[in-house]
C-alpha cells in the first residue's frame, strides 16, 4: 500500500512542513492540518501480496526502497510517498514527534556547530562539503518502567581524635537497608539496526510535549524506517541503562557515611508499557579528507552528535596554550607568595 498526499486544490504532491507543522503544497501554498486532513486525498495503491516493489502514482517509476524504509521520496519526480503496509498492524507507530527544524535550519545549525569545533581542522570548520542531509524518522521504543531496589549495605562513620600521646580512630558501623520504588517514563531506545546506539543516546533529550498521535502525513517528504527489534528484544538494553539511574538514586539515598559497602543489591526492573514512536533526526553526511563523516542532529533541538575529524596541530596548540598559561599563572602566584621569579 503506497500513500501519496494530493493537494485538494491543485493536485500536486504535498509534504510535511516543519515550520507550520502542517501538510503543505509547494505549488499553491495550501496548508492542511494533519489531524483533519481528509482520507479522500490520500491516494493509496494496494498491491496484492507483500509488495517488494512500489510504483509511484505520479510518474509510474519504481520506488526503490530498502526493506526497512517506511517513507521516502520518489527518486524520479520527488513526490513524498509513505509505504502504508509497513506502518500498519504491529508496525504501526503510536506516536510521532514531527520535525521542527527545517532542512535549511538544520544546515545552518550544522555549520554553526562546525565553527564551534575547537579541535577540528580549519578546512572542516567551513562546513562547505556537506554531501547530503536527510530528514529521518528513527524508530524508538519509549519504555515506562518500574524498578524496585532492595539494598543492604554496611556504612561506616569514622571519627579521629587525640588523647594524650595517642591518636584514636573510632569507626561506627551501621546496618543500612533501603527499599526503593522507582518509576521511569518514556525512556527512549532506538530500535533501528542501522543507527549507531551511542550516537542516538547522545541525541537525547526530546521534548515529549511535542509527541503527536501518529498520522502518516507527518512522514511525507521525509525518510522513515521501521523498527528491527521489538520492545521485548530491546528490553535488556533499557534495563542496563536504567540500572545506572537506579544505582545513582540508591547512592543518593545513602548519605552521611564515610564509606558504604553494599552487601546485597537487588534491582528488579519491570516494563510497564512500551510505545513505538518515530523521532526526528537529521543525518548529515560530510566528506572531509576523502573520508565520510556522519553526524546526527536532533530534529527538535538541533543538538549535533558525531565524531568530527581532529586536527593534531590544534590539539597541540591547546595543550601548549593551557600548559603555558597555567605555568605563567603559577609563576605569578609564586611571585605573589614571595618566591621570586626564578
Amino acid at each position: 500500500m503506497l500513500l501519496q498526499y494530493k493537494c485538494p486544490n491543485c493536485g500536486s504532491d504535498m509534504a510535511f512542513d516543519s515550520e507550520s507543522g502542517m501538510l503543505s503544497c509547494e505549488s499553491c501554498g495550501r496548508q492542511d492540518n494533519i489531524e483533519e486532513f481528509s482520507d479522500d486525498y490520500i491516494q493509496s495503491t494496494f498491491t496484492e501480496e507483500e509488495a517488494k516493489e512500489y510504483h509511484c502514482k505520479n510518474c509510474g517509476a519504481v520506488i526503490i526502497t530498502e526493506a526497512d524504509t517506511t517513507a521516502t521520496t520518489c527518486s524520479f519526480c520527488g513526490a513524498g510517498v509513505v509505504l502504508g503496509d509497513r506502518l500498519s498492524g504491529a508496525l504501526a507507530p503510536a506516536k510521532v514527534i514531527p520535525f521542527t527544524i527545517s532542512k535549511d535550519e538544520a544546515k545552518a545549525a550544522f555549520v554553526k556547530w562546525c565553527n564551534k569545533g575547537r579541535l577540528t581542522p580549519r578546512g572542516f570548520m567551513t562546513a562547505n562539503r556537506i554531501k547530503g542531509i536527510t530528514g529521518l524518522y528513527v524508530p524508538f521504543w519509549l519504555y515506562d518502567l518500574n524498578s524496585r531496589a532492595d539494598v543492604q549495605a554496611v556504612g561506616t562513620r569514622v571519627r579521629t581524635y587525640t588523647r594524650g600521646d595517642y591518636i584514636y580512630t573510632e569507626t561506627k558501623y551501621y546496618d543500612v537497608y533501603r527499599d526503593i520504588d522507582l518509576h521511569y517514563v518514556k525512556v527512549p531506545v532506538d530500535a533501528s539496526e542501522k543507527m549507531n546506539d551511542e550516537l542516538m543516546d547522545k541525541l537525547e533529550p526530546y521534548d515529549y510535549g511535542k509527541l503527536k498521535e501518529f498520522k502518516t502525513p507527518y512522514l511525507a517528504g521525509y525518510i522513515a524506517e521501521k523498527y528491527n527489534y521489538d520492545d521485548k528484544e530491546l528490553f535488556p538494553r533499557v534495563k542496563s541503562r536504567v540500572k545506572k539511574y537506579v544505582d545513582t538514586y540508591i547512592s543518593s539515598t545513602v548519605t552521611g557515611y564515610s564509606s558504604v559497602r553494599y552487601t546485597n543489591k537487588q534491582i528488579d526492573t519491570k516494563q510497564k508499557k512500551a510505545q513505538y514512536v518515530l523521532l526526528p533526526v537529521w543525518m548529515v553526511y560530510y566528506d572531509y579528507d576523502k573520508q565520510e563523516h556522519t553526524f546526527a542532529m536532533n530534529g527538535l533541538t538541533g543538538k549535533v552528535v558525531g565524531r568530527p575529524p581532529i586536527s593534531y596541530g590544534k590539539v597541540a596548540g591547546w595543550v601548549g596554550g593551557i600548559a603555558g598559561s597555567t605555568f605563567i599563572a603559577m609563576r605569578i602566584i609564586q611571585l605573589i607568595m614571595g618566591g621570586g621569579l626564578w
Binding site: 558501623y173 546496618d175 590544534k314 605555568f327 609564586q334
Partner: protein, 267 residues
Amino acid sequence: MVRQSSLWKSIVFCLTILLFSITALSTPTHAAPEAKQRVFDDAGLLTKEEVTELEALSAKYSEKRETDFIILTSKDADGKDIEDFMGDTYDEKEFGYDKPKGNAVMLTMDMSERDVMVTGFGEGERLLDDNRADLVREKITPALSRGDYFDAFSQYIKSSYKYMGYREGVDPDNIFFSTLFQLAISVGLGVVVVGKMLYNSGGKVTVSGRTYSDANKSRVVQRRDVYVRTSVTKRRKPKNNSSGGSRGGGGGVTRGGSSYSGSRGKF
C-alpha cells in the same frame, strides 16, 4: 582564519615562555671580574682551577644578590670552636658586599672537627635565616661527606642564592616553587582539559536518571540505618624529630658585634 590565529598566538605564547625561561635560567656572562677574594681555602681542599672557578661563580651570584658568598675552609679553625672562628674571621676580614662587615653569607669548614657551618650576615641574615641555612647545609652535607668539596661548594653558592630569592618567612622548599612540579602540573592540566574536549567533541550525553524519572511516584519505601558496633584503634602520635642530632647552632652575635643567622653541623 580567526581560529588559526588563535592557534598561532598560543604557539608564540609558549615559545616566548620557553625563551624567557631559558634566558632567565642561563647565566649572564657580563659579570665583571672583581679583585675581591671570596674563597679562602686554607685547608687546601681545592685545586687552583677549582678555586678560580668558584671565585667566578661566587662573584657572579654575589652581584645578583648584593651579598658576598664566602667559602672559608680551615684545618683546625685555629684551635677555636668553628662558630668563634667564623665570627672572628668575619670581623677580621670585614666581609660584605655593600660595605665592610656588610651583606655576606659564609660557609665555614673545620676539617679537624669535621664541623660545617652556614651563616648569614646583613641581608644574608634576613634572607638566609636559620631555617634556610639549615636547608643549605643539609643539602651539601652528603657531598661534603663524600669529599666532593667542589660540588658541595658550588651547590652551596647556588642554593643560598636561590633561597635568598624568596621573601622572608616563605618556605623555599615548598613543592609549589619547584619548576619541575609547576611544569608537571601545567602539562597535566593541559592534557586533562584537552582530553576532555576531545572526549566531548562528538557530543555528550546530557540526560540522567532524573530526566526520565517520575518524581511523583518514585520514592524510598523503607529505610533503616541501624547502629551495629564501634571499633576503636589507636596509634602513637608521631614525634617531630626529623633528622635531629647534628642540627643546632642557629644564629648569634660575633665578638665584633655583628649578628648573624646560621646552621652548624657535622659532615
